[in-house]
């Protein structure tokens, strides 16, 4: 606890030690060690300005490309999107717009009573689309319950995500059809599943990677720390992607951590980096970097995507009880979709036709989501007893039979 004051300001006096620890595989990733060193030199000057200066950012809120100098801290990350085409950029924009549209539709459906609950990703589109688009088909994703944008990138039909929020199932999709695991509600549990899965990849001799999503609240869970440690000990190809959206329901970052979250990685022996979570390009670049090094056998990495939950925790939450509107307004100015649009426009990468077409596509998606949800039938009552076990269980069979007899007694009483 003696070093706890370090938490208040992201000052890093550790000097060369920090470089050594972060660059655990200095031999194979010389550039990274250099990166860390370079970052360090900027920190002293940046310390007073707070943590924002440490963000990896490739697109400013005003929509301007940040071109890191060749020897700067972030050149290594930027290299991963150096040759990104206008088509890919439009693709990222399209993904974010459609994800936001889907999310808004789901919120509306909750208000209409069609869903029991919805956990909105509003504001986190860049973090999810940027990282999601960095994954390869054979990679595996372990989401929380808010990764609607990542699901979109994986090709999961968005309406599949709504069953559990409507209350007709607890997930139900086949994780292996898109390598997108089931939503996990218990905070942080999936970080260990991701690590175990990654250990399996290594055993199989494959070169896939795993990405585990979690939030700033989950960073407090023991399972997340255990996952960091197992991943480090077994050098597992897993990327820990923390969306720090500033709020764990009503609890701010100050209630979760005394150090910037990405710095936790250092103590476990792998690199951690904080990226502008509202910058799809930077999220794409940094996640590609992390996944690539995992595939090369260089082990785990932690990415802290610094972002903001613009909406409530879920539709049951009332943020006005714990945070001010001006905070949201400040983050709105950094909106992930707006900044990419500004860039596309200024670079002449997209014309009015593109935006109009996308608007129409959004409306079509919203309509389809509405129709599918409203048509979603309630499950058969005997579904209670289905899939409790893979190989069956005598007690479940007995209780199903009793339940059936009980139900049948009404039919008999009614003379049916």
């Amino acid at each position: 606890m003696t070093e706890s004051t370090a938490a208040r300001k992201p000052r890093r006096s550790a000097g060369s030690k920090a470089t050594g620890t972060t660059g655990t595989k200095a031999g194979t990733t010389g550039a990274k060690a250099g990166t860390t060193g370079a970052k360090r030199t900027t920190r002293t000057a940046a310390a007073k300005k707070g943590s924002e200066t440490e963000l990896v950012q490739l697109l400013t809120p005003e929509g301007e490309r940040v071109e890191p100098a060749r020897n700067s801290a972030y050149a290594e990350y930027a290299a991963f999107v150096a040759d990104i085409s206008p088509d890919e950029l439009r693709g990222l924009y399209r993904d974010m717009v459609l994800t936001r549209r889907f999310d808004a539709e789901a919120t509306a459906l909750q208000r209409q009573g069609e869903l029991g609950l919805w956990a909105s990703l509003l504001g986190q589109e860049a973090a999810q689309i940027g990282s999601g688009r960095a994954t390869r088909e054979d990679d595996y994703v372990f989401p929380t319950y808010r990764e609607h944008g990542v699901a979109w990138c994986r090709g999961v039909d968005p309406t599949n995500l709504l069953g559990m929020f409507r209350g007709v199932n607890n997930g139900g999709w086949d994780p292996n059809s898109n390598n997108f695991h089931l939503y996990t509600i218990v905070i942080g549990s999936q970080a260990l599943h991701a690590t175990g899965y990654a250990m399996g990849i290594t055993k199989d001799g494959a070169d896939s990677a795993v990405i585990a999503y979690f939030g700033d609240g989950a960073s407090s869970q023991g399972d997340v720390s255990e996952a960091f440690n197992f991943a480090a000990v077994y050098n597992a190809p897993v990327v820990f992607f923390c969306q720090n959206n500033q709020w764990a329901i009503s609890e701010s970052n100050e209630k979760q951590t005394r150090v910037p979250l990405y710095q936790r990685a250092q103590g476990f022996g792998f690199p951690g980096v904080r990226v502008d979570g509202n910058d799809a390009l930077a999220c794409l670049a940094v996640t590609r970097w992390a996944l690539e090094r995992a595939r090369r056998g260089e082990g785990p990495a932690l990415i802290e995507a610094y972002t903001y939950r613009m909406g409530a925790h879920t539709t049951s939450d009332d943020p006005s009880r714990y945070r001010h509107d001006d905070e949201r307004a400040a983050w709105e100015a950094k909106d992930p979709i707006l900044r990419l649009r500004r860039f596309l426009e200024s670079a002449n990468h997209a014309d009015e036709g593109f935006f109009a077409e996308l608007e129409a596509e959004s409306e079509t998606l919203g309509k389809r989501v509405r129709e599918v949800v409203r048509a979603m039938p309630d499950p058969d009552r005997f579904a209670i007893f289905e899939n409790v076990y893979a190989d069956g269980h005598a007690l479940v069979d007995e209780e199903r039979a009793q339940f059936a007899a009980y139900q049948a007694s009404f039919a008999e009483a009614e003379g049916v």
Partner: protein
Amino acid sequence: MATEKMALAKAINESLRRALDSDPKVLIMGEDVGKLGGVFRVTDGLQKDFGEDRVIDTPLAESGIVGTAIGLALRGYRPVVEIQFDGFVFPAYDQIVTQLAKMHARSLGKVKMPVVIRIPYGGGIGAVEHHSESPEALFAHVAGLKVVSPSNSADAYWMMQQAIQSDDPVIYFEPKRRYWDKGEVDSEAIPGPLHIARVVREGSDLTLAAYGPMVKLCQEVADAAAEEGRSLEVVDLRSISPVDFDTIQASVEKTRRLVVVHEAPVFLGSGAEIAARITERCFYHLEAPVLRVGGYHAPYPPARLEEEYLPDLDRVLDAVDRSLAY
């Protein structure tokens, strides 16, 4: 190997060896299971023969062990996890209850969880706190888990084979005080189903139902009762979830009396469930209420007191007397 006499711990060891040998997807994970061969030597020699990739010494973090085992199962592996002692399972309880037990249902049957969790359990070895508990009811209460406990070497061998082959998660409780008891194991036998109870001693006056470490005690009780002219039947439940109620029912319809014995606390223990269900099934056959003998509603006591806490010959005979007095 065919038929060989071996200690219960050795039987589990041989069974694990066979599983590792026959299925490359089987893994052993746990604290000290590799070089040391486990604190009870149940995994002795396995890492040497199958390597560190198959027999994995893990960090000391039970939730991490079970959580990563779940991930490995999702990747197609069949992990056999060791929890070093009964009282150490609780950091993993969340992963076991909220994830392992529910994954199959959550996925509507698309995901299987072939994970075995081995837990040496029970008292009688003079250990310190957290090393002598019997938490099986806490797992049997959870849908999605299967819970078994062998009482002898042959069952230890075959039930482990079947637990590993199961596509459901199985909590495999090992009666640690019987680890050194020897019995015949026929590695070419054709085992019966995993979740079936077995009548290990026929009798006509009263049924004793037990599992794991208490089966041997109940056989001793039956011997002592026989000297007093009483004929006790002993049922080895073997499986605690599901319980084979049919076998108990058949026995009780014959003897008309039932005493359930376990080391776990009596209150809301597996004996409570058996008493309730057998009362329901055999109401008109029973001559006496179903009685239970087990631990008290108190923390497992320090070793010098455990003989007072654990069911022993006299306490079970006392229950037998009370039942027969009706």
